[in-house]
Symmetry: C2
Subunit: 172 residues, 2 copies
DNA sequence: ATTTTTGCAAATCATTTGCATATAT
DNA sequence: ATATATGCAAATGATTTGCAAAAAT
């Protein structure tokens, strides 16, 4: 067990075993992606852990450039190329998903590896996942109307999240 | 009347007035975008007409690079920058819409300036527009579930169009 | 005549790639 | 030990921009 946690980078070798609190925090943070990597048989490298960590510390959507900046500011050194490669891999493994903002920017959001859609706050950028919600029926209907054999779809919703609504109501 | 048609580029000054057939063909081709431009008060320049024409001659989605290539092949000379600027403007005026392909490429499709969605053939790239189709209800439901005040949404469907299905059934 | 638009070439920005080195298994 | 992953710097590709010349109103 201690070995496994160490492999995932949740505890470090020196201190023997970290406190329960530390483990739990670490697990809820960066580990989701790391676990996916491990299960898929990819090597658990320091740069990948760093990128997973940067993503975990983010709120809402982010671009590759955001991560590059984050890394530079925290003096964590991972090459730009590595960040792009990590994002590509995480996307491949569905640990992260690419979303296209109305601005045309390519952004990413961390997410669960099951089919779903994102609701994106146009004010703070925070995202929430929502399940299928009746989309299958719509897709079917559209297929019927157009004659297309629908294979997949992409739905992105934009709006103001509850927090921003509350904040807006309070002050400006 | 002849003046108006000339302004829109549907008839040329020299021949007095083109044949009805010519007018009709021209109108169904490039004029939709040109008309939108005119109504919005933008100048009707040759390069913009050329770009509108290139778009009209396209089937399905296209990228800025596609138009640059088309122009070069037909020896119509419009600068690359002009094509980008025209696309930006047409998008602004909703004569064209930007769609993000699953590949991540930025593509455009010509379309009606009303809210709708696109069904995109993953084989030939052809697109079809579909109306709201029950989306408002879904958006409302998602808003209720997540607490977001939904402002807009983007739905893109991918599949095989009727033509490609038929072609596939015939040969390979 | 005046304002808008164009074309060019250079600048910028995002992303990818080759390859020698470093690291995880 | 060996396959994989990294970092760098250079290559690529897409898009934008400054500015003088050209075209539309």
């Amino acid at each position: 067990m201690a070995d496994y946690l160490m492999r995932l980078g949740l505890v470090n070798g020196k201190s023997g075993i970290a406190s329960i609190r530390g483990i739990v925090e670490a697990m809820t943070e960066a580990s989701a992606i790391v676990t996916v990597l491990d299960r898929a048989g990819y090597r658990l490298t320091e740069p990948r852990r760093v990128v997973a960590g940067l993503i975990a510390d983010r709120t809402g959507h982010f671009t590759a450039a955001d991560l590059v900046d984050d890394a530079r500011q925290r003096r964590l050194d991972v090459g730009r190329a590595t960040i792009f490669r990590a994002l590509e891999l995480f996307t491949e493994l569905n640990a992260v998903e690419r979303v296209d903002l109305p601005s045309g920017d390519h952004a990413y959001v961390e997410c669960e590896p099951v089919h779903h859609h994102h609701v994106i706050c146009s004010q703070c950028g925070r995202t929430t996942e929502v399940g299928a919600c009746g989309m299958p029926a719509i897709a079917r209907e559209i297929g019927r109307r157009t004659g297309f054999r629908i294979q997949s779809h992409r739905l992105e919703l934009f709006g103001i999240c509850p927090d921003c609504q509350a904040a807006n109501a309070r002050h400006g």
